[in-house]
Symmetry: C2
Subunit: 359 residues, 2 copies
C-alpha cells in the first residue's frame, strides 16, 4: 500500500479569534460540539483510504503535545515538527522527501486540518479517484469546489481542456488568488472557475521534480544526503535547514507555474472555515438568519448574526444585525461580520497591548 | 451605647442579571473590583458609628452561608433569617422588635446593603446628625438625595416646613414612588423634591408605634409574648409568623402615611445601583462615553455603553451605541441600555426555559 496522507496542522488561525488561540489554534478545537476537533475529524475522514502508519502530520513544534493528546494512536515518528512557520511550500517539500525515503513509489494526498467537509462519501470517492489519476503519471492534482457565491476569500482555479477517462478532472488554465468582488462575480458567472480547496494529490516523485523545476531554491535547501530523511538524522538536518526556507505557499511556488496541473471538480459540502463569515455561511440558520454555536440564545431584533461560545452559556441580545458574537474563555468579540477581515490585526494589537494570555 | 444598625440584605437584584444571580445577588458581589462586596462596604461604612455587636443583618435564609463567609466577625445571633421574601416593612418590624427586646431605648439606622456611597465622611456626618435628631423625640427620618436628573426609577420626597436647630432636616410633605418622566422633570425643576435613599433612622419605640398606628395588621402579626424576641424562642415564632406577613415596602406601609416623617437632605455620592443604567451613570466615562468594569476593552465606534465582566477578560467590540455588555460566568447580556427595564422579565423567561443554573 503506497498511498500516503500528509495533514498540515501548523496554522495559527488568528482570523478565528477568540476561539482560535495561539496555544490552541482552530484545528485543535471541537468547533461544532461533536466531541472531536477539526483535526480529529480530518484523520477520521482519510482513514478509510490510507493506513494509519501512512498518515503523516506536519505541524509547528509548539503543537506536538496537542497532537499527541488528540491523536494518541499516531506514532511519534509520523509527526514532523517544523522549527519555524514557513507557509505550505517548505512543509510539503519536506513531507515529500520524508515519504519518498520510506517509499519511492508513494502517492500522497495533502490535506488541510481545519476545513469542514460535510459529504464524507463524496470525499472518499474523490480522493480515491484522485489517487488513481496521479498514479498514472507525473501529474499535480488539486480538488476544485464549484463556487456558490462570489467569495473573495478563496483562490480561484480556471478549468482548461478535459482529460481522457475522467469526466471530473480537467487541465488547469489559470490560478487567481483572492480576486476582488467584481472579478469574483465574473468568475462565478462564467462557470469556468472553481474554488481552490487546498487538497492536493501527486506522487512523491512528481512533486519533488516540480520543486526542482519551479522552486529550485526550496528544492536545493531540502537536498540532503541519502540516509537523512526518515532516519534519526532527519531532525538535526531539518532544524538547521528549515528556518532558511522562504515562507511561501504551494500555490504560489508550484501550482501557478507548473504545466502539469489538473483540477478534480468536486461537491464535498466544503468550507475552509477560514473566517467567522465562512463558519456563518456553513452553518444552519434560523428564521432570522441567525446561527447558534454551542450556546443558548434569546435574541430579539437580531438578524443575520452568529452567536458562538466555547462553553455552555446563555446569550441574551437585542438589536444586533450582521454581527459576530463569539465568547471563549477570557475574551469576547462583538463585531460586524462585514468587518471581520480586521480581526487578525486586532489580535496583533491585543498581543502587544495586553500580552499573549488573551491571544 | 444604644445606637443600632439594621442592614437589609435579602434582595434578589434580578435587574442586574447576569452579574446578580439568584444564589449570589448583587449585595454579595465585588462590584467595583475593590476586593470587597457591596455588603462588606456597607458594614465598613457604618462601623465608625455603631459598635459591631449592634449591627443586625436581615436576610433571606438562603443567604446565611454567604453572610457568614463575607462577614465572619458578625455573631450568628446578629443575623436574622427571613423564612420568606416579604419586602421591607415586615423585615423592619421584626428587626425593631428584636432590638427593642435587647434595648428598649435603642435608636436604629436602617441601611440597604447594595447601594453605592462615594462620600464616606458625608455619610458619617449625616448618620450622626440623624441619630441625634431621632434621639430627641418620636420622629421617623429618611435621608433624601438632591436629584441630578429626572430619574424615573427612584421614589421622590417633597420637602415641607423646616425644623428648628437642623438646617438640613425638613418635614416631609409628600412621597411619590417612581413618577413618570414628565412629573420627574417638574419635580427636578421645583427644587422641592429629593430622591428617597432607603436609609432610615428612628427609635425602636417610634417605628413600632408607627406600625401600630399605620400598619396594624403587620404590628399584630409580630405581637409576641414578652420573652420571644432575642431569645431562643424567636426563630420558631418568626418561622411560623413571618410568611403570613404581606409583602409591602416600608414606604408604602408607614412613610407615606405617618405625620411625623422628616427628610435629611444629603450629598453622599449616592446611587442605588438598582440597574445597569444606574451603574453606568455612577461610573467614570471615557471620551466616548463608555464605562468599563473589570475588563479590558478595545472598542471602535462604540459610544455611551457599559462593558462589564466578572472576571479579567478582554472585550473587542465595534459599532455598539447605548449598550450594556455584561459577561458573568455562564451568561452574556448584550442589550440596549434604554431597554434595561426588560431584563428582569428576561430572567424570568430564562429560568422557565433553561433552568435556574443560568439565573
Amino acid at each position: 500500500m503506497n498511498r500516503y496522507c500528509v495533514i498540515m496542522c501548523g496554522g495559527v488561525g488568528s482570523r478565528f479569534w477568540p476561539f482560535s488561540r495561539t496555544d490552541r489554534p482552530k484545528q485543535f478545537l471541537d468547533f461544532f460540539g461533536t466531541g472531536k476537533s477539526l483535526l480529529q475529524l480530518t484523520v477520521d475522514r482519510i482513514s478509510p483510504l490510507v493506513p494509519p502508519e501512512n498518515i503523516i502530520l506536519v505541524t509547528n513544534h509548539l503543537y506536538e503535545p496537542l497532537i499527541r493528546e488528540q491523536l494518541p494512536t499516531i506514532k511519534p515518528e509520523n509527526i514532523l515538527l517544523e522549527p519555524a512557520r514557513r507557509n505550505t511550500a517548505p512543509c510539503i517539500c519536506w513531507a515529500a522527501h520524508h515519504i519518498a525515503a520510506l517509499d519511492p513509489e508513494a502517492v500522497i494526498v495533502t490535506l488541510p486540518s481545519d476545513h469542514l467537509v460535510l459529504k464524507e462519501k463524496a470525499f472518499e470517492e474523490a480522493i480515491e479517484k484522485g489517487f488513481r489519476f496521479v498514479e498514472q503519471g507525473e501529474r499535480l492534482l488539486t480538488l476544485g469546489i464549484t463556487p456558490t457565491n462570489p467569495n473573495t476569500g478563496y483562490g480561484y482555479i480556471q478549468q482548461g481542456a478535459p482529460t481522457d477517462d475522467y469526466d471530473e478532472i480537467l487541465k488547469v488554465k489559470s490560478f487567481t488568488e483572492k480576486p476582488n468582488l467584481e472579478m469574483a462575480k465574473v468568475f462565478l458567472a462564467s462557470k469556468e472557475f472553481f474554488w481552490n480547496s487546498g487538497i492536493f494529490l501527486w506522487s512523491a516523485k512528481s512533486i519533488l521534480s516540480a520543486f526542482e523545476r519551479y522552486a529550485p531554491d526550496i528544492a536545493h535547501l531540502f537536498d540532503a544526503p541519502a540516509d537523512t530523511y526518515s532516519t534519526p538524522k532527519e531532525k538535526e538536518f531539518i532544524d538547521k535547514t528549515f528556518p532558511n526556507a522562504p515562507g511561501i505557499s504551494i500555490d504560489y511556488a508550484i501550482m501557478e507555474k507548473a504545466n502539469n496541473v489538473y483540477v478534480e471538480t468536486v461537491d464535498l459540502g466544503w468550507s475552509d472555515l477560514g473566517t467567522w463569515l465562512a463558519l456563518y455561511q456553513a452553518s444552519p440558520h434560523n428564521a432570522d438568519g441567525n446561527v447558534t454555536q454551542n450556546c443558548k440564545v434569546i435574541a430579539s431584533g437580531c438578524r443575520d448574526s452568529i452567536f458562538a461560545t466555547s462553553s455552555d452559556k446563555i446569550i441574551v441580545a437585542e438589536g444586533l444585525k450582521d454581527y459576530i458574537v463569539a465568547d471563549s474563555e477570557n475574551a469576547l468579540l462583538i463585531y460586524p461580520l462585514s468587518e471581520e477581515q480586521k480581526i487578525r490585526h486586532i489580535v496583533t494589537e491585543i498581543k502587544s497591548r495586553f500580552g499573549e494570555s488573551f491571544t
